[in-house]
Symmetry: C2
Subunit: 103 residues, 2 copies
């Protein structure tokens, strides 16, 4: 697999970050990442097809919210919590808190 | 003017709220509302036409983020900060903090 592009946090745009999170399935994905301690290898429990899930993961990756790396035959999805927190303090924790309380 | 619809906070959906905020002009609008203490009567200093501004204000109103009322010949736009805070703690303050720090 070729290396996937991950934007630098300094280049992130708040509207793009919020837009990436403004979707019920993507909120479920970041909620499951958060519940799993920030890292999920393999799949997510979401009511969409594999190709739709791939699209959602791409949107989150391109907005700087997750880092995707290959580990053997599986992909490792990691929430870039500390980096996002450094750039936009409080936003991701508060959104994750609301995802948890309504899950 | 007929009375405008304002959703009840209990009916709000996090993805809808985030989607309403996921736009550079709408972030400017809520930033200016915040800087003005939560209320702006009349216009905003944004680089869009009046009709585009009206569209953005409608999106924010329908997502429960602002309350729009007529005051004489002008419209009063008010940030529903306390209500949103009650439903989704921390989200609006953290977004407003990031808008201020990058303005």
């Amino acid at each position: 697999m070729r290396s996937l592009h991950h934007p630098d946090v300094a280049s992130l745009d708040l509207a793009t970050v919020l837009n990436a999170l403004a979707d019920p399935v993507r909120l479920q994905i970041v909620g499951q990442l958060s519940a799993a301690g920030g890292v999920v290898c393999g799949g997510f429990d979401v009511p969409v097809s594999m190709s739709t899930l791939s699209h959602h993961l791409k949107v989150l990756r391109e907005a700087g919210i997750i880092r995707v790396t290959q580990e053997g035959s599986r992909r490792r999805n990691e929430l870039r919590l500390a980096e996002i927190e450094d750039r936009y303090p409080g936003i991701l924790p508060s959104i994750l808190g609301s995802v948890r309380s309504t899950a």
